[in-house]
Symmetry: C2
Subunit: 113 residues, 2 copies
């Protein structure tokens, strides 16, 4: 089971975008999360290493904003992607280094097949 931030040394500021630590990444959780065609497509889009806005990703996949937000939240909570606030925009990137450190080869499998 996936337990995000069971122990946190610092209080969570209101509105802070939370990401699991590298040590908390769980392979089964990640596999389950990317095992969805829309989320797998998002992973492949952000695998270019750039930050992508939610709206750009939603447009690229022709999905409504509510659907996109849902999938992006699951990817973030599983530790696959990082979400950064830039004003009112949310910029999404792949946590490639973190994923590679914990599960070597996983990003390659997800993006080259």
């Amino acid at each position: 089971m996936y337990h995000p931030r069971q122990v946190s040394a610092t209080p969570i500021a209101a509105g802070k975008i939370r990401h699991p630590d590298v040590a908390a990444l769980d392979l089964a959780t990640i596999m389950r999360t990317v095992g969805d065609p829309v989320r797998l497509a998002i992973v492949r889009l952000v695998a270019d290493g750039a930050e992508h806005s939610c709206s750009d990703l939603q447009a690229a996949l022709s999905i409504p904003a509510s659907t996109g937000s849902y999938h992006l939240r699951l990817l973030r909570e599983a530790g696959v992607t990082r979400t950064r606030a830039d004003g009112t925009a949310r910029l999404i990137s792949l946590r490639r280094d973190d994923l590679e450190a914990r599960f070597p080869g996983l990003v390659d499998v997800l993006t080259r097949s």
Copy 2:
């Protein structure tokens, strides 16, 4: 979506154990299927290349037969494992070559992390 054997050149014999063709293997389906702690544990047990009986796998994981049958069916239907009938026994093995052919590196990611 996963559509096993949409087109089949040969009739399915009654009781035949069905497996998706290599060409029908779908990465999202496989990821979703192995994205469960019990099924991931089964994959790691059969990654030794041997055939394992259902009962041995269930005993190794301390799960009831009904639970084991359910998880083994999902793994077989996703194309992760092969099930062979030997009398009344069912022997399970990893489709390592098929998985490697379609998704190079996947088995390594699942088994070494």
